[in-house]
Symmetry: C2
Subunit: 355 residues, 2 copies
């Protein structure tokens, strides 16, 4: 890939905010670095990307994103190893996925060289914000929004693609018990549940608030047709260990094709764990809980990597999962982290060095 870095317009921040940041006390996703990448789409083409001081956006009140939710995003992380090298984890997956999401939302695809050149340039400028040490990372949020003014319900012809970055500590998801959805749904067949589109998220907040009132932290969504099959947790794909076998449901119209999900599958298979990718019935979980076959459940996603699920609720009943000493969750999470931080060998070629 020919570099076009020379074309990026760079305006440096006059001073850095980094001295004011307490890196030992970082609430997730609320502190941002000194710069951001912005690229405008107009007249049918993406314009020259710019890296500018992190700053508010100014948009017309009639911009399509406010009214019709035409917006997509990605989540990625940069890791620094003990030699000070900075690594991304499978960024090509995020790049291809944001364009897949964009296509479904009638938004223009973003050029590959703009994405990688912009990302590399931005991350090199923000190098001091990426702290070494396991758990520390820079969370990266590429996103695109429809900016055209006008409230007619039709696709925007103008967009902004941005990359903003937020320093993060190890994301501890807390004790996670999930409610299995019985009535509310996240996505329909033929819809856009597979996309990281803005519209897939706000609809989950209210049902999740109700679940929180019952003492659960997240919802495991089920299929809208029958509510008999588990799907995903909205920000995590779901894995279930039955005996020694690892189950996860297939992706499709309704379920996000998670980068961590496919990495977990590859790592599990590499070490001889049988992985069965097939629809998982809620009734299997209940039966497995009863006969002791249900050993583990965990979620996978960029923010938490792997988040063990301690129990679940379904139709008014609560089910606790066994406490495992050498769980698949812990083992695979460690392997993933070791690859991400350049500690372990990268057999799959997942690491990408920022330079």
């Amino acid at each position: 890939m020919e570099s076009t870095v020379k074309d990026i317009i760079i305006e440096k921040a006059k001073s850095s905010k980094i001295e004011q940041v307490d890196f030992n006390n970082l609430p997730f996703g609320s502190v941002f670095t000194d710069h951001m990448m912005v690229c405008d789409y107009k007249d049918g083409a993406w314009q020259t990307p710019k890296i500018i001081p992190y700053q508010p956006l100014t948009l017309e009140p009639s911009a399509r994103v406010f009214h019709y939710g035409q917006a997509v995003f990605e989540g990625m992380k940069a890791y620094k190893d003990d030699d000070g090298k900075v690594w991304l984890f499978r960024p090509d997956e995020n790049f291809h996925r944001i364009n897949k999401s964009s296509a479904r939302m009638a938004m223009p695809e973003f050029p590959e060289d703009y994405f990688f050149d912009g990302l590399n340039t931005l991350l090199k400028m923000e190098n001091d914000w990426i702290k070494p040490g396991l758990g520390n990372s820079l969370y990266i949020r590429p996103f695109a929004i429809a900016t055209q003014a006008g409230i007619i319900a039709s696709p925007s012809q103008e967009f902004k693609f941005l990359i903003i970055c937020s320093p993060a500590q190890a994301y501890y998801g807390g004790e996670v018990r999930v409610k299995i959805a019985e009535k509310f749904s996240r996505a329909a067949d033929g819809g856009f549940g597979f996309a990281k589109a803005a519209g897939n998220y706000a609809g989950q907040f209210y049902p999740t608030n109700l679940a929180k009132e019952e003492g659960f932290q997240q919802i495991v969504w089920t299929d809208a047709k029958s509510h008999e099959f588990i799907e995903e947790a909205g920000t995590m794909n779901i894995f279930v260990r039955m005996g020694d076998k690892l189950l996860t449901c297939p992706t499709g119209d309704r379920i996000l094709d998670g980068v961590t999900r496919k990495s977990v599958i590859a790592l599990a298979e590499e070490q001889g764990i049988e992985v069965d990718i097939r629809p998982i019935r809620v009734s299997e979980l209940l039966e497995g809980h009863k006969n002791g076959e249900l050993k583990e459940m965990f979620g996978s996603g960029t923010a938490a990597v792997i988040n063990p699920i301690l129990g679940f609720g379904y139709k008014g009943e609560r089910y606790e999962l066994p406490v495992m000493t050498d769980s698949y969750a812990t083992r695979i999470k460690q392997q993933l982290i070791n690859i991400q931080y350049n500690i372990a060998e990268d057999k799959f070629g997942w690491r990408y060095e920022v330079k």
Copy 2:
């Protein structure tokens, strides 16, 4: 309702843009009046509403609305009669619906007095923008967006509620032929299809683009489970005339409870037309087309009031509808318009005078 108009903070525009506007050539939803209403929600409460010069919004790049689609809206119109009085049509319905939408999107409800006082004050200030004459109107767009900074996927604690206004001429939807959805879906049971939430709209753009390539203007969505029942057209509810009977499907989780829809039902019933509110099978349309019972199809919505459907496509076949001289669509549209413009008696108490 006790008026709190005195509490609204008003900052008048230094000059008006009205002289630059060609009121005989108004593309829908792209010209806005001199002022807008803005009300911020923070610290758990709606702050004092303000009416300020129409201007861009400045938001943090991490504002929730850009990432998670937490946003709702309404569409309304103001009409001026020949005496210069200004009327709204059933604004209480829009007020209650935006709060119903907000509740589903985990957004705070907006106070009734703020809504009506803000709307009245704003419309009186923009009186010159509302032109008399059938077809002319001021399209009103109340909307609310999640403004809190921070990219954690959880409900915002800060919001903006706005009202912007755009002068409109009679909305001619053009010749409308619809494609009946066979694969793509708009909403799931247990989802938020009933809400006027931003996330319900962008997902329709791509399938609609595909339908346009086949020569259709809109999609009539079908149920995601079986695609056997018609639902709505995304920006219009759908009516079907079979013989002398008018059919429309029931609202619910997936279908917007349209204000024009319920007004059409009331007007039709008032003049003795039998209205059957029940699920409508695609197969009934095909059969009715074959045996001549299918007389009309039309969409109802605020922008176009009633939009006759000239034909539909399904599974590669195209079906043209008969040309009616005294159609239900034309008759009911005229009745609705006469009520909206204070020409006919308002038996149902639907008109609301702005003063």
